[in-house]
Amino acid sequence: MSRLPLSFIVGSVLTFIFVFAAVLSFFWTPYDVTLLDIAGKFQVPSMAHLFGTDHFGRDIFSMIMVGARNAIAVSLVAVGIGMAIGVPLGLWAAATKMNKGHIIDEMLMRGNDLIFAFPSLLMAIMITAVFGPGAINAIIAIGIFNIPVFARMTRGAALGLWSREYIMAARVCGKGSMRISYEHILPNILNLLIVQATIQFSIAIIAEASLSYVGLGTQPPNPSLGRMLNEAQTMIFFAPWLAYFPGGAIVTMVLGLNLMGDGIRDLLDPKLRKRRKESDVAA
């Protein structure tokens, strides 16, 4: 291990800042986010209110802290659902394909294609509109669309491993396909899954913000970055900071996660590093 990739360092620092702020917001925020202070509304950013105050006089900085916490919580659970269902499905599909069970593999993959065919944001909006707006339904709506992503990726990676010699050896030892999947395949594709999870996590944050923006995600009085932007929209002409900071927070958070994901991939994939060096020499 030579040195850490720069993207990894920058990405992890940004991600850490947000996770720290989110955890901290459980115990402490500069101001109470439910406290209305009409006399102090529309204050420009200052030392007292770093990011200014909104039309109810609430402190934007505190709201972003709590909003980031909600965004992280929703995304974490949504991606968790996607992985918890998608990964076993992918492993199962790969195992059955390798053990003359094409029908199951075919069915699982067609089911995947089906979910992929639905425009995800539109469906998320529909699900939350139908079952009622709120964080839980937002989690389900985002989670569902994470399932095929993980299933497809797991299946692809697992299929590549099934023809390896050590898998053959395990089969010769009499291990069943389920045991092989969990003991030998899963640990070997964990790297890929972690990288994919960070990418999906950042997508989920944008999705949560979009849902909240149209009023279907986290509900008031719980602050959410998306809804802050929605409220800011009518006031940007005289209070543009209301739009700058929550949006900037989303971008920084997503950017941090993406950079961290790229960094982890570079770190975990020695082949990629080697290839890069070779082609650098060639270039």
């Binding site: 067609r110 294609d113 089906l114 992929f116 065919a117 639905f118 425009p119 944001l121 539109l122 469906m123 909006i125 529909m126 509109a129 139908v130 299929l159 950042s202 944008i206 913000a209 979009s210 923006y213 149209v214 932007l229 800011a232 929209q233 940007i236 002409f237 543009p240 739009a243 949006g247 989303i250 971008v251 920084t252 997503v254 950017l255 993406n258 950079l259 082609s279 650098d280 060639a282 270039a283």
Partner: protein
């Protein structure tokens, strides 16, 4: 080739068919009675019953599904509950805004992404590459609705170059309409362009390592000539796949952007229809979008199969 084609057509039909069932079931479970919703609070029970009969809501679920399906096949999508006009008319009207917007956004993102990808690939590792890809990273991270707000703030409020929203209709003239679609198209295009330029970059890098590029270089072409004459076309293949996917994504993804700019497009229609429980419109539009996604994926696959015989073998890998 023929058997591959038939197999794909069969799976296409199954996917579409299953999709209509899923959509229908999903709409079935929507709480709220459209007839009661339309009658408002003052409506009598008899009037609501009559309306229900008129809309066909008193039939069994199976009959309604069957009618809906056969109706769609003959181009009859039914009557909108709230607008009281044929859904097909509504959809065509809105498509005339959404499709141009999508195409506009795709053109913009391609115009930006391809040169950016090629330049950063050919200057790999330099400051140019690092900064372009840095910008692309930020671009991927920007939610398009926030970008839209910023664009309005800059171009409508401060500079006053564009209006903050609305659509004059195609009767008002091409230029006016393009102007009205410009800010929405930019806000849709930027994140897509960022993704596309990253794909383009890695695709060009991959191609530059191919043997035929080495051959081209060996016969005396400069790196640039080799890339332009032999590399670019091959590097475009993955980019085209992404473009195909982006088309359908943008068509549906306009939902929020269309609302921000008050554009009378499909996305805004479906959003309003969900809120107004105009379920027949929701059903039809979602079906149409799914149809678009499936068809585009199918066509991309077919185009691949024609170009690359290895793919016809199916996914044996």
């Amino acid at each position: 080739m023929l058997s591959y084609f038939l197999k794909r057509v069969l799976s296409l039909i199954i996917t579409l068919f299953t999709a209509t069932i899923v959509i229908f079931l999903m709409i079935e479970v929507v709480p709220g009675d459209p007839a009661a919703f339309m009658m408002g609070l003052s409506g009598s029970t008899e009037a609501a019953d009559a309306l229900r009969a008129e809309l066909g809501l008193n039939m069994s679920a199976w009959d309604r599904y069957f009618n809906w399906l056969t109706g769609m096949m003959s181009g009859d999508f039914g009557l909108s509950y709230t607008y009281r006009v044929p859904v097909s008319e509504l959809i065509i009207d809105r498509t005339l805004v959404s499709v141009p917007l999508t195409v506009y956004a795709l053109i913009l993102s391609t115009i930006i992404a391809i040169p950016v990808g090629v330049i950063s690939a050919s200057r790999r590792g330099t400051a140019v590459d690092t900064s372009l890809m840095g910008v692309a990273q930020v671009g991927v991270a920007i939610p398009n609705f926030w970008f839209a707000i910023l664009l309005v703030l800059l171009f409508s409020t401060t500079l006053r170059w564009f209006s903050a929203g609305g659509f004059p209709g195609w009767e008002a003239g091409f230029i006016e309409c393009v102007k009205a679609l410009t800010l929405p198209a930019i806000s849709l295009a930027l994140p897509q362009a960022a993704i596309l330029s990253r794909v383009m970059r890695s695709s060009v890098l991959e191609v530059m390592n191919e043997d035929y590029i080495r051959t081209a270089r060996a016969k005396g072409l400069s790196k640039r000539q080799a890339l332009m004459r032999h590399g670019l076309r091959n590097a475009m293949i993955p980019v085209l796949t992404i473009l195909g996917l982006q088309f359908s994504f943008l068509l549906a993804g306009g939902i929020i952007i269309e609302s921000i700019f008050s554009l009378p497009g499909l996305g805004r229609l479906v959003f309003q229809s969900i809120a107004q429980r105009d379920l027949i419109v929701v059903k039809s539009i979602v079906t149409m979008l799914v149809f678009a996604v499936v068809m585009i994926t199918f066509m991309v696959d077919m185009a691949y199969a024609v170009v690359d015989p290895r793919l016809r073998e199916g996914d044996k890998s």
